[in-house]
Amino acid sequence: MKISVQTEPFDLGTEMAGFGTGREDVGAVVSFTGIVRDDTGAMDALELEHYPGMTERAIAKIVGEAIERWKLADVIVIHRHGRLGVGEQIMMVATAARHRVAAFEAAEFLMDYLKSRAPFWKKEHGPEGTSWVAAKDEDEDALKRW
């Protein structure tokens, strides 16, 4: 299991090399990578603030729940903070499970919870200045399916 909250970029290939392989109880590996997207065409960068200490604690709790519920063999969560350019990676999750459905569901569960329960806050930087990204109701609603 790996949980990392970091400013520096990560290499997906390096992280996934050997993940979930070489063991008898894993039949499925899923990974998701979040990328900084520009919906308005006017964003220079995305800045992520977080709550050191609580962030690691909140992620560990979410990961623990996913491991227990989907009997995961392994998990990776990497989440960046600081100033990120458009097209850069923000975060990744990877899950290794016995079956495909568990690996996919656990990855979605992790994503849904990281969005609304891990203490990160996004601020958009553009030519007109900066603005905090508001949390969406549908992100909170997404937790209800779990």
Partner: protein, 82 residues
């Protein structure tokens, strides 16, 4: 003595990331009332509690939660990770 932390626009509105507060407040809501009474910038930051979340010793909590034994209180807007 309790450490009070602010994040995102709450930090910007209040103008500092953390402070140590001398308080006898029994609950989070009582602490908020004490802070609001201090200065207009606190009043502005805590005007709409539905736009705020609170964590006690780094776990999410409710506004009516007791502060007994708590060392660190954090106020912030709904989280936008992922």
């Amino acid at each position: 003595m309790i450490d009070v932390l602010y994040f995102a626009w709450v930090r910007e509105r209040i103008g500092l990331p953390r402070e140590t507060v001398e308080t006898q407040a029994a609950t989070v809501a009582d602490l908020i009332e004490e802070l609001k009474a201090r200065e207009p910038r606190y009043e502005a930051a805590f005007a709409d509690l539905s736009a705020l979340r609170v964590a006690l010793d780094q776990d999410l909590a409710e506004f009516d939660a007791p502060l007994a034994g708590v060392r660190e209180v954090a106020f912030f807007p709904p989280m936008t990770g992922g």
